[in-house]
Amino acid sequence: MPHPTHDCADPRGQAEPVVSLQDVRLTLPSEAGAVEILRGLTLRVDRGETVGVVGPSGSGKSTMMMIVGGLERATGGTVRVAGRDLSTMDEDALALFRRDNVGIVFQAFHLIPTMSALENVAVPLELAGVSDAFGRARASLEAVGLGHRLSHYPGQLSGGEQQRVALARAFAPEPVLLLADEPTGNLDGATGEKVISLLFGMTERTGATLMLITHDPRLADRCSRTVRLVDGLIQADGAAPPRAAAAQ
């Protein structure tokens, strides 16, 4: 049963939500006919929420995340993020929008392999014209415990270290919204645990809003709210763990 989007725990409930999806659809053409990936998704996420997004593979979790990040365009519905209507923006405007509002952490890290850790973290700051981009990048890396790895290239770092660089990069510009897509999917348990602690710690410290895709129920439990997607639709949305909802 869908959770009413206005019913959230945010004390500033009257303020504009960070993410607002209204009847969002995505249909992709394929040789075997059109494929409906998202079939009318409606979701509201308010400032400071931490939302776990769960669901089976192919349910549309990543697609929803791409649409919220302005990396994919919805074929129907309205997408508003940080007060902006993404559907009216062109590619460059979307890039600037991400620069100013969104940090993204991927399962595959997606660091630029030919840039050092410091350079990787500095890029979004440089793009934003921050005067002390490298100073802040250094601080950000120190915050994830990689102050001693500044000049290392991604190929010279372990998976956990690479993901910490990605975290530092995502948080350095202090985005209002942080999107994380299976951030521990490529890491072992202990390393993943460390990365998750960092992720939640930094979200809390910066006051960012977090949307986290995960298959890991324990990780979803740490979020203030869990949304379950099945077949392109929101099947459950609530503070209770979705597996509990599913069991009901």
């Binding site: 590619e91 630029i112 190929g155």
Partner: protein
């Protein structure tokens, strides 16, 4: 017992080692075959680079072989006989003629420069006049329009004017048609036919002639009034030997029978020697340019192999995990590369082999050459070996590196595998392959010195560009972090690990260097010929003025308003026959001085040093000198002959030998177009010999026609050479050669562009990824494009700058040392090359960037 079993074990292990080797090759071949099924997709640049270089070398070689064979097949017709005897000034002696006639049929002819005029004297043209006897030609046929036997054409017309067969160029210049009267020297002729083709056109006085040809009968020569004492008339005798006779032996026997005659004897194998020399030199040069293209392509080969192996890292790692040895991996991939190299080479050979078909029209028109068509295995084989060796030399290194990397690291190294040197046997193998390539280039060149200089230059240039690449990377690193994000990203792209900077700088740089050098050499030659005609250069050379005509000549010049300074000098022609008493042909003479011995040289005598003389050794004689003959000699030739002050030269003038002592050496600047003689005698030695006067006259351009008319009307035996015409002729030749040279040089640039395109394509996946991640982080398309612009713009600019410097150095060496001309930097040529470089790098780079920018982000970012 133990020892027996040990021995048996040893034997077994020997045998199993042999089996293992065979097994390794078989296994490597099986792996290679399976991998080759993947297609040639990543090898387009590899194949194109090799094919281009191989095609160039094969085409140049095939073309040269086709010309050579064409010349050989027509050798007798080209020379006009099995044997040609040539003597300046006077006919050969009756004994000599009898000797020739005893061997077979002989045709005698005479050839000189002369003026042809219309009856009213309104039009005139310098021509090459050739008077032939009834037996001419012994081989081949003279083609005329209308076609008729020469004897009939030479017959007098109704008004008693003998016939002349006139080249079409002269007819058009004079505005004459068949049947019109024509004045040759002093004699009145009629145009009996147009000369279409002359079998021995390339023989005679050289293949570059200043005037179109006119044929008349030997019996009509006297009427021209051109046969005067000391006039420059070449007497030719051509002999048809019996079919089984040995022309070389006859030539030797004749020279031995008449050792002191000032005669040049050639057999048919020497035919068109000047042209052959020229073709040989051009071939040598173009082959080297082709090799440069191949070297540039080699960089592309190395890049392609590296990119290919980068893509195979997981395959190699998997093979290793499954138990494949390093050697097996190396062998399997070497086989693949060599199979592909074979494909590229064969494609290049196919293009090269048919090149003569396409060039034949041009060569027939420009040089009157007929090519022999066919497949020439030797040049093709050479091109193939060059191609395969290049592929080998440039792929061992990346192959060995892939072999070295442990599987664990292979899995990990995404972009920049640890830079380490391959094991020493592979380093050695690379060096050996490179050395064999260099030695082959030197050994197969006609001019080994030039080839050796080229190899040294190529190695030097490659080292210079490698250094330049490192320097550019270093400078980009040092540039710090400029405020502009595009600038910073662009600079970072230049020095990032795995950046294409070194290979782009090397390959594009080599191509651009060749282009700069060729452009500067050509520009300087053009300047020397046309644009740098000194202000004081004469307008005309007048040849064959008889000493008793000097007054009339001066009067004729004085009558023309606008005619200026006149320089006169007595002129003889003589051949240098001995140096310090030793026959010149037995002396070790440097190649660059050989030309001075190949035919008669102009001689003069003078009490005073010439105005433009620069004495560099010894002293000029006193103006009232009388005594033993003294010589003032060219300083360059003295170096080439290995002689100096006090040595003697013996010169044969009109059959008389004259020995003089070298008293001083002059630096001669041929570029001034003033009267220059390699040999000037002191007064007393030559005055008595029959000679003519050579004069130069300055004139305003408007006065030129009047000057020519006044002199040749007053003195019909005098030939007028207009300096502008002579320079135009030289310029025309230069232009057609220049085209071939520039076209070939452009091939090296094409190879460079291919390598650049290959490097851009190889980095494409990475660039798409970078662009996508940058877009995720908020970079606009404009900013990413700006970074590309900075990267490729700086790369192109820096590469072109280094290429400009190296090309300028190379061209200045060639222009000043080889061509002995003045060298000036031509900024326009360099600017053009700079612009071309920027267009190419930014163009090709942007093409790649454009595709990267258009890539959708989402598919690349999705979780695996």
């Amino acid at each position: 017992m133990t020892s027996v079993s040990e021995a048996a074990a040893g034997l077994r292990s020997d045998a199993s080692a042999g089996r293992a080797r065979a097994g390794l090759v078989a296994m490597a071949w099986r792996i290679a075959r399976r991998e080759l099924r993947g297609g040639l997709g990543g090898f387009r640049v590899f194949l194109a680079c090799l094919a281009l270089g191989v095609a160039t070398i094969a085409a140049v070689g095939s073309l040269s072989a086709a010309i050579e064979r064409g010349l050989r097949e027509d050798a007798r017709a080209l020379l006009g006989g099995d044997i040609e005897v040539r003597q300046l000034y006077t006919p050969i002696t009756p004994e000599q003629l009898a000797y020739l006639e005893a061997a077979g049929p002989v045709t005698a002819s005479r050839q000189t420069r002369a003026m042809a005029r219309t009856l009213d004297g309104e039009s005139r043209s310098l021509i090459e006049l050739k008077a032939v006897d009834d037996a001419y030609p012994l081989f081949g046929a003279v083609e005329t329009a209308p076609a008729a036997p020469l004897a009939g054409l030479f017959a007098p017309d109704a008004e008693g004017r003998p016939g002349a067969v006139v080249d079409g160029v002269a007819l058009r210049r004079l505005g004459l048609a068949v049947g019109d009267p024509i004045r040759l020297g002093d004699g009145l002729f009629h145009v009996a036919a147009e000369l279409v083709a002359e079998p021995d056109r390339l023989s005679g006085t050289g293949f570059l002639t200043l005037g179109p040809k006119v044929l008349i009968a030997e019996s009509a020569m006297a009427a021209t009034g051109l046969v005067q004492e000391g006039s420059l008339i070449y007497h030719f005798y051509r002999v048809a030997l019996p079919p089984d006779a040995d022309a070389g032996a006859f030539k030797a026997a004749f020279t031995e029978t008449f050792p002191d005659a000032p005669i040049r004897v050639q057999d048919f194998t020497d035919g068109a020697a000047g042209l052959r020399d020229f073709i040989d030199r051009l071939t040598a040069f173009l082959t080297l340019v082709g090799l440069t293209a191949l070297l540039v392509g080699g960089v592309g080969v190395a890049n392609a192999v590296r990119a290919f192996l980068d893509g195979k890292i997981t395959t190699i790692a998997t093979l290793k995990c499954l138990g494949a040895s390093n050697r097996l991996v190396f062998a399997a991939y070497l086989i693949q590369i060599m199979v592909l190299a074979g494909l590229g080479t064969v494609a290049g050979l196919a293009v090269g082999a048919v090149a003569p078909l396409f060039a034949s029209g041009f060569l027939a028109e420009e040089f009157g050459l007929s090519l022999a068509f066919g497949v020439f295995p030797l040049p093709l084989l050479l091109a193939a070996v060059f191609g395969m060796l290049t592929a080998l030399a440039f792929s061992i290194w990346p192959l060995a590196r892939a072999r070295e990397v442990p599987p664990a690291q292979l899995f990990r190294a995404l972009v920049a595998p640890a830079r380490r040197w391959p094991a020493w046997p592979y380093v050695a193998a690379t060096i050996v392959a490179g050395a064999v390539l260099a030695l082959l280039a030197i050994a197969t060149a006609d001019d080994t010195r030039l080839a050796a200089i080229f190899v040294a230059g190529a190695v030097g240039a490659m080292a210079a560009f490698r250094g330049a690449g490192l320097l550019i990377e270093w400078a980009a690193r040092q540039a710090g972090r400029p405020r502009s994000t595009a600038l910073r990203l662009g600079l970072a792209n230049i020095h990032r690990p795995g950046a294409a900077t070194p290979s782009v700088v090397l390959s594009l740089g080599l191509g651009l260097t060749v282009l700069v050098a060729v452009a500067l050499i050509e520009g300087n030659m053009r300047d020397a010929i046309r644009e740098r005609i000194p202000d004081e250069a004469p307008a005309y050379f007048f040849l064959d003025i008889q000493p008793d005509q000097v007054e009339a000549f001066e009067a004729a010049v004085a009558s023309v308003p606008g005619a200026g300074r006149v320089d006169r000098t007595p002129m003889l022609r003589g051949r240098i026959v001995a140096i310090n008493g030793t026959p010149a042909d037995r002396m070790p003479i440097a190649p660059e001085a050989q030309w001075a011995l190949q035919s008669e040289r102009g001689l003069t005598y003078s009490a005073e040093p010439p105005d433009n003389a620069r004495i560099v050794a010894g002293e000029w004689w006193p103006s009232d000198y009388s005594g033993a003959p003294l010589i003032s000699f060219s300083a360059d030739l003295a170096r080439g002959f290995g002689i100096g002050i006090g040595d003697t030269l013996t010169v044969n003038v009109l059959g008389r030998e004259m020995t003089g002592t070298v008293a001083n050496l002059r630096d001669i600047e041929w570029g001034t177009l003033q009267l220059n003689f390699t040999i000037i005698f002191a007064p007393g030695a030559l005055e008595a010999a029959p000679h003519t006067v050579l004069a130069t006259v300055q004139a305003t351009p408007e006065a030129e026609p009047a000057l020519e008319r006044a002199v040749t009307d007053a003195l019909p035996n005098v030939s007028a050479i207009r300096v502008r015409d002579a320079l135009d002729t030289a310029n025309d030749v230069l232009e057609s050669i220049g085209l071939a040279v520039t076209a070939t040089a452009a091939i090296t640039l094409v190879a460079g562009v291919l390598v650049l395109a290959g490097a851009v394509a190889a980095g494409h996946r990475r660039r798409v990824y970078d662009a996508v991640v940058l877009k995720v982080l908020g970079a606009t398309r404009g900013l990413i494009s700006g970074a590309f612009l900075v990267e490729y713009g700086l790369l192109g600019l820096a590469t072109a700058a280094v290429a400009a410097v190296l090309g300028a150095i190379a061209s200045s060496v060639v222009v000043t040392e080889v061509m002995q001309l003045e060298w000036t930097l031509q900024p326009l040529a360099i600017l053009l090359v700079l612009a071309l470089s920027l267009v190419v790098t930014i163009g090709v780079g942007f093409l790649g960037a454009w595709r990267a920018l258009g890539q959708k982000a989402a598919p690349l970012l999705r979780n695996p």
